[in-house]
Symmetry: C2
Amino acid sequence: MYNSSSRLDSTTVDRSERQYNFSAGPATLPEEVLQEAKDELPVYDHVGASVMEISHRSPAYDKIEESAREHLRALLDLGDDWHILFLQGGASMQFHQVPLNFLPEDGVADYVVTGRWGTKAVKEARLLGDVHIAASSEDDDFRSVPDVADWDLSDDAAYVHITTNETVNGNQMTDDPVLEVPVVTDASSEFLGRPMDLEGYGLVYAGAQKNLGPAGVTVVLVHEDFLQRRTQPLPTMLDYGTHAERRFNTPPVFPIYMVEKVTRWLRERGGVDAIHAINQRKAAKLYDRIDQNDFYQGTVAPADRSIMNVTFRLHDPDLEPVFLKQAEQRGLMSLKGHRSVGGIRASLYNAMPEAGVDALVSFMDAFEVAHR
Amino acid sequence: MYNSSSRLDSTTVDRSERQYNFSAGPATLPEEVLQEAKDELPVYDHVGASVMEISHRSPAYDKIEESAREHLRALLDLGDDWHILFLQGGASMQFHQVPLNFLPEDGVADYVVTGRWGTKAVKEARLLGDVHIAASSEDDDFRSVPDVADWDLSDDAAYVHITTNETVNGNQMTDDPVLEVPVVTDASSEFLGRPMDLEGYGLVYAGAQKNLGPAGVTVVLVHEDFLQRRTQPLPTMLDYGTHAERRFNTPPVFPIYMVEKVTRWLRERGGVDAIHAINQRKAAKLYDRIDQNDFYQGTVAPADRSIMNVTFRLHDPDLEPVFLKQAEQRGLMSLKGHRSVGGIRASLYNAMPEAGVDALVSFMDAFEVAHR
């Protein structure tokens, strides 16, 4: 169903067919998953109604949510001491919910800021309490990630908040830090894209719309020990304990149903280690093309480059709109960099086929020849 | 596609076909809407990807959200002084968000409690400030709605919170109150099911999964004058002003896309007045059957009965599981009352065809004959 690379020679593609979609989120999903969702309309699995119309207390929905949890548990090798929650509001709500639960009035939380999302997390935490910036690469325009050895950590932080992959800026941490205090990470744009060592974490959150499903659900992993440190009382809906204990409110059924399918798809393809190998290969192909000469220029220090969100510029910024327009005409969509930083961004999430990266590299070669 | 009433004579139905779905929410959706969503997978309207995979800053998504807003504005005849927000977390999050924005530290809010949902709203508001119960029908097991003339309103309440339709208990207010202070209502299970006189309201909220779309989006109408009364500063995501001003975060794209379709469907069928007439007729048919004799017994005082959620018991409670099982076998699904109150509940939202009510009434007749 994807365009063959021969399409690259034509000037336009049929947009009623699927394109290679490099959107940073909402982002491309496995076509098999979309096909299955299509097949299950307007009636889901002999329940007499679509999945959107059945009670969230029904056995059919129970099974979907439990299956999604089981897939996640298997993919990340999660023990019983980890709760898996399906919340709403994306990372933006987590920016509030994390300090609301875990930053005591007389305490401090350490934040490591490596991009636009971490900056937003700090802003929300500061509305609630004392925030200490343990490290930041803002002076470097977030082109790098400060080394963990250089983080200026507080003696008694309630937690250390990091962003293991910065979607807008295109950097990624290579290690999962293990510190004196629990680490909280916004893993939205890398979740399930690489193996995670969960030892140092107290809480991991990820908006689904990058690597996991459609927008509308946030996966939160919270460790039982960390959970017990939260302050009380809390608003019921914003208390992680509410959702760890039971299905309190109506969950976003359709997005969770899609997460179940995507995580099942990932297990069928060999799990996180297998997809990580493919992700590394995809990213290497694109960075190698970028680094070939100075026609294209990566924006992030090589050691800190993200394998999920590849950001680069053209040596001549005036060519960027031309590049984006021609790419779109050739079936390579949503390559525009975030409005706050400009340039080009190719998001290579799990569901982006390697052939999509090959098509992009071919286009970049041809574009260079035409515009050198 | 629905089962013909002749199906009532057979013992079981094919559950790979659509049943009459009386679920209280998530609830039945118009079949045409589901078919359109199916047709638009895996590629939406020539954009090269499904609607779940495109950027929430893309022109295609902009058009969907603007169209949903336009339909709502037309259906409710909303002026420019009303903001239409698409939030997350359902009514449960609104229980926190309303007092967080509008209940000042030294102020009081009046709450009128007519059922399970209003009770929950009070619990959340009390975590934040001073709540005065202006009226409650709890002593009557929420079988009625206190008359507005009897409400014991504070002189200086920040707002009066009501629940115009109580989904679990099956009661509904017949008038939209106009009071000295702005009224806030949880209209989840009646939204767009009857014309609303918005004059007295400051804010109206509705979880979509009853009468409006799938779970995962909450429609909030907030009047500009009321919005300006909110306290500051607020957490960004929980500040209604954030969302009134701009699209701040990634919205739940797919649920909003479905709301656009459902509201368009409703406009095509003549709008709220037209559906209200049908809803009244559907409810009258069912209540007439219930009131025919004492085999079935309505649980709510006749003047306060909901046209959306019809709650009743059988004269012999031991027959209720039999009733539910046989109804299910005849293609009448999800008739079980809420676990907190038991009995039978038939939710007759906009998307429930009149033929579904006819089928239910026929079944009730036949069941009475068999078990009298």
